[in-house]
């Protein structure tokens, strides 16, 4: 990776979203989102179902095409900075009966830096094994992916993103359908990433764990409601604005 692109000084803006509007089948999903994510935060995106949380990160990553708006990563257009960004999709988005092994999936994380046609070699394999080790899945490297538990599959996905050795990580509901041990393992890795100066953005469902896990939060419900440090803005006022008056019910869910 090109080291020059990564700024050393803290306090810079890692991700800047400008006037982003997304419509699915021309039904509005996200409206005029302006968002600045400082470098080195561990941020949760919260909001009710259908608020456009996944849509937001998918359109930042160019998977969905926005109607308007632009995204920049460290002040450069996203297309030029892909190598700085890693993505952990929702676990349910792929077919886990696909004939491949855990190690193979993790190796896919190296494909981006390899580019077209070039095959992964020993160096890539080593990186993949290290990532598997980090998520505690090394003993399962040869396992077919359908024979892993939900939590293990999520760890594999996380490992695949770790291999990319990116500066910014986007994760879509990494805690969904995983066991308690995995949840702790994942959050520890995320906190480690933050310690290493990486920026981590997580679509999150469980409001109760927000103050414990994250230091930054964005409230989203079609529009951006609020964004900032958890200790400053994670309060009843914003929760009500995001979830409506019945937000306590959604916490219990």
């Amino acid at each position: 990776m090109d080291k020059k692109k990564i700024p050393v000084s803290a306090g810079r803006i890692a991700v800047k979203v400008d006037d982003l509007t997304v419509a699915y089948n021309y039904k509005p999903v996200l409206w005029d989102i302006d968002l600045e994510i400082p470098e080195g935060v561990l941020m949760a995106i919260v909001g009710p179902n259908g608020a456009g949380k996944s849509t937001l990160i998918k359109s930042i990553l160019g998977i969905l095409k926005p109607i308007a708006g632009s995204v920049s990563i460290y002040n450069q257009p996203y297309e030029k900075q892909r190598s700085l960004v890693a993505y952990v999709p929702q676990k349910g988005s792929v077919d886990w009966d696909f004939p491949t092994t855990a190690l193979d999936v993790v190796m896919m994380g190296t494909y981006g830096s390899l580019g077209w046609i070039k095959r992964p070699g020993q160096k890539e394999k080593k990186a993949a094994l290290e990532a598997l080790e980090k998520v505690g899945m090394l003993p399962f490297k040869g396992r077919q992916i359908s024979q892993l538990s939900g939590g293990q599959q999520q760890r594999i996905f996380l490992a695949r993103a770790l291999v990319q050795n990116a500066s910014i990580y986007f994760m879509d509901e990494p805690f969904q359908g995983v066991d308690a041990t995995t949840e702790i393992a994942i959050i520890n890795i995320l906190k480690e990433l933050r310690k290493a100066g990486k920026t981590v953005i997580v679509v999150h469902h469980d409001l109760q764990t927000v103050p414990e896990y994250f230091d930054w939060v964005t409230f989203l419900n079609v529009k951006k409601i609020a964004t900032g440090p958890v200790k400053d803005i994670f309060n009843d006022d914003n929760l009500t604005k995001t979830y409506g008056i019945n937000y306590k019910v959604s916490i219990q869910e």
């Binding site: 999709p89 004939p99 491949t100 070039k118």
Partner: protein
């Protein structure tokens, strides 16, 4: 003609060798590309494409008036691609679902092809005979140039497959993620689809439009049962496909009155059946055996834990009890008791049983595990 005679003939008879080689190559390329179709959940697309190719063949014939199989196949390729993209158009632009779109294109294109085919057959043109071989296929009409064409297409296909292996694999597994890595997913997608259409078109002359889809699916579905790696799956599928071709040709050549296409399909179907039943990790037979074994273990555990509850009430856990008190217990048979004795969990002596230390420990572990699970 029996089979041994046939095998001799393959090496001596030019026509038979050509046909056998042709069906083998065809089976291999279909198996390879079929793996992708199956994994992309586009199994029935092959069926639709092969039917959609028929009007292309007839239109190509109407325009050129010649029966040059390369031109006819080009027509088939074009109309197969038109069908494929129309199916996508229907799915993306209307609220009709994919199954309806497939069924529509399949039947409408085929019907239109039949209209043209019957129209051509009524024309006073001596050249037209034999176009209907594309319905069920006639391996017997394969000539050397056809086999060469198949071999060339297969080599190109293999080359592209090896070149873009990594890209194909990651697109099949996780298309969104592939996009974020900076790959042009549309290009990879069109590449795969085009090659699938190409393989189908190539097989029309041999297997026919009606049965072509099975040629694509069956080897891949069978191969999937034997491996958990994509590369191995593609290789096994190619082998299954090639063997289906060779055996199918052999059987149909050694019997009177059997067209090759259906026989090849049945052979491929047989491979699928065998794989479904006997595959060691996924097969139904071994699944059933594991299921029975688990049930037996469960019975054993039940008996053991019943004994455990009795032994618990005594200070000395190895205190002997009469076998009779087990009679009211359902999981107990002489067989299970003997098995427990074989495992040294109990000792038996004239009508009495007593738990061993080891048996007691195992049983108490079982008991705790059950409690854990219940929580």
């Amino acid at each position: 003609m029996d089979v041994t005679e046939y095998i001799k003939l393959v090496f001596t008879d030019y026509t038979l060798r050509t046909i056998t080689l042709g069906t083998a190559i065809l089976g291999a390329v279909c198996g390879m590309l079929g793996s992708f179709a199956v994994l992309r959940k586009q199994s029935l697309l092959g069926d639709a494409i092969s039917h959609a190719a028929l009007p292309g063949i007839t239109i190509a014939f109407l325009i050129t008036g010649a029966k040059d199989s390369n031109i006819l196949l080009l027509g088939a390729l074009l109309s197969g691609l038109v069908g494929t993209f129309w199916i996508r158009g229907i799915i993306s632009k209307t609220h009709l679902k994919s199954d309806t779109a497939l069924g529509l294109i399949l039947s409408l294109f085929f019907g239109f092809g039949m209209l043209l085919l019957t129209f051509i057959q009524k024309q006073p043109n001596a050249n037209q005979a034999g176009l209907d071989k594309y319905l069920f296929g006639q391996a017997a009409t394969l000539v050397e140039s056809d086999v060469w064409l198949m071999a060339i297409v297969t080599s190109i296909c293999l080359f592209v497959l090896l070149l873009f292996w990594k890209e194909f694999k990651i697109l099949l597994f996780d298309a969104d993620y592939t996009k974020t890595l900076g790959f042009n997913t549309k290009f990879i997608d069109i590449l795969i689809t085009t090659f699938i259409v190409l393989a189908i078109v190539l097989g029309l002359q041999t297997v026919g439009v009606v049965l072509m889809s099975a040629m694509l699916l069956a080897p891949a579905a069978a191969a999937r049962q034997w491996t958990n790696r994509l590369g191995t799956m593609v290789i096994i599928a190619a082998l299954f496909g090639a063997f289906s071709g060779v055996f199918g040709t052999a059987i149909s050549a050694s019997q009177n009155n059997l067209s090759t296409g259906p026989v090849i399909v049945i052979v491929a179907g047989f491979f699928v059946l065998i794989s479904f039943i006997f595959s060691p990790s996924r097969g139904l037979l071994f699944k059933q055996i594991r299921f029975i074994k688990n049930r037996r273990d469960l019975q054993l555990h039940k008996t053991l834990s019943f004994m455990y509850h009795i032994a618990e009430t005594h200070e000395d856990i190895t205190h002997p009890h009469t076998i009779k008190i087990l009679n009211n217990f359902q999981g107990y048979t002489k067989g299970t008791l003997q098995k427990l004795a074989d495992k040294h969990y109990v000792t038996l002596s004239d009508g009495n049983w007593s738990l061993t230390e080891e048996g007691f420990k195992t049983a108490s572990n079982l008991y705790n595990q059950q409690n854990d699970n219940n929580e």
